[in-house]
Amino acid sequence: MDKDNLIINLTDISFSYPEGAPLLNNLSMQFYKGDRVGLIGPNGGGKTTLFHIIMGLLKPYSGKIEIFGKPVREEKDFRSVRQRIGLLFQDSDDQLFSPTVLEDVAFGPLNLGKSVDEAKVIARKNLDSLGLSGFEDRITYKLSGGEKRMVSLATVLAMEPEILLLDEPSAGLDENTRASLIKVLTGLDLSYILISHEMEFLDSTTTSVYIMKDGKVFMNGDRQIHRHYHIHPHSALPHRHESGFGKKYTDFLA
């Protein structure tokens, strides 16, 4: 694929938590502008860890990270990355820390040097576009799970990022919130990688799928893969497929 549009380029990344077994094992992954990728893989497979490595929150012990065509190594390099890549945390309670919704959404823009008035305008605009108008003065810790998730998304979008890393955004949402999340994501003019276990959700929000297994990312997936995966959800046992698409990839899922 074209090199200009290569946004995230990971080469031979290895990582383990202190006193943990190797989690990422010579992982390589490329992500291109315009991509909408679903990332699937077993629980504890290291998907969240991978996102945190891309954001520079965790340091791999070997490997190369290139983002927007530049190698990133130190905290200083990652600082500019974080303005262009927005991470939605798996647990919204990690993301929301300000007392009120408006303050939390305005937090990012203020850090980017916007004035108080500009930050408020940006925050309101983002809340409105997510169907959260009227939430400005709500207390963040008193929101429901689904509301917290949507407000978290607003805090990320308020940074006006070019790429989103969405860590299980659909987990634990009710039907309505899930539907509006799908509407928001498909309406955005952004590239993203999205972790999810829900095949229907992936189907309506992404155009290809990466599979994470054994500390590696396999990127050959296309739309058919997750259709396929959908037919065999939670498949823990090795299984074969004699006909149809995706035969090759089922081995990864086994």
Binding site: P99, V116, Y141
Partner: protein, 253 residues
């Protein structure tokens, strides 16, 4: 609920006052009362504090509950202070002399503590902690302190939720507290888990802040306007302080 903001909901004059004014007065008032020692000024201070509570139209029962907690500690002072001072004996209990300076000192402490506490209930407990944080922000209190304060407050609720989750987890498995080793061990595990979860949480929140461009500085969205009521109250509050100072440090009375 472990954490409640029982006095914040109200629409009294006190509730509507500019938070900076309330905090400013509470600080100066506490300082003056803390260094005062004469009874006329201490009684005047107590009167001012009670007047503020009346203005704030607080639920007297709830306010009394809070006072009771502090006075529980003060009662302890009464058990030894009257006996440990040298001076004119008022009367004897067994071999111990209850001295006049001892009683005066204990009474002074009781008055001071209650006056300051009542004033804080009326002035500070009537604003949301977040408002308090922002007001401190605009009063040039060091950013780090305000930040620490607001985050601690936010995470009190998360810790509370974690605590509820943990206690639920042990309850659904049939745990009944008793006076036995099993109970103590379970409580020790609970406390340990709570601590671990809270610190892991703190780490992740910091990471989330970094992801949104945090560079160590907090910004406040709030600016408070100054109303007519604020100005009037500021005048009365200044007068109250002057009265306290005069009662304490001049020889009019």
């Amino acid at each position: 609920m472990m954490i409640e903001e029982s006095f914040v909901n109200g629409n009294s004059l006190i509730h509507r006052l500019n938070p900076v004014l309330k905090i400013g007065f509470a600080i100066i008032y506490s300082f003056v009362v803390a260094v005062s020692s004469k009874f006329p000024s201490l009684f005047a201070a107590l009167f001012i504090a009670l007047f503020l509570v009346i203005l704030a139209r607080l639920n007297p029962r709830k306010a009394a509950v809070r006072l009771a907690a502090v006075n529980g500690i003060i009662i302890l002072f009464w058990f030894f202070l009257p006996f440990t001072f040298q001076g004119e004996a008022l009367f004897h209990i067994g071999p111990f002399a209850v001295t006049r300076p001892g009683v005066i000192f204990a009474a002074g402490i009781t008055l001071k503590a209650n006056a300051i506490l009542i004033a804080f209930i009326a002035l500070v407990a009537t604003m949301r902690v977040t408002t308090l944080g922002h007001a401190l922000n605009s009063m040039l209190i060091p950013e780090k302190l305000v930040q620490f304060f607001l985050l601690t407050y936010r995470y009190l609720f998360v810790i509370q939720t974690e605590y509820q989750k943990l206690t639920r987890a042990v309850k659904v498995r049939g745990f009944r507290p008793g006076t036995n080793l099993h109970t103590y061990r379970t409580y020790a595990y609970l406390a340990g888990m709570l601590f671990v979860r809270a610190s892991v949480r703190g780490e992740r929140v910091y990471q989330a802040m970094l992801c949104r461009g945090f560079k160590g500085k907090f910004y406040s969205l709030h600016e408070y306007s100054i109303s007519k009521a604020d100005i009037t109250c500021a005048v009365f509050m200044t007068a109250a302080i002057v009265i306290l100072v005069v009662l304490e440090w001049t020889k009019i009375i």
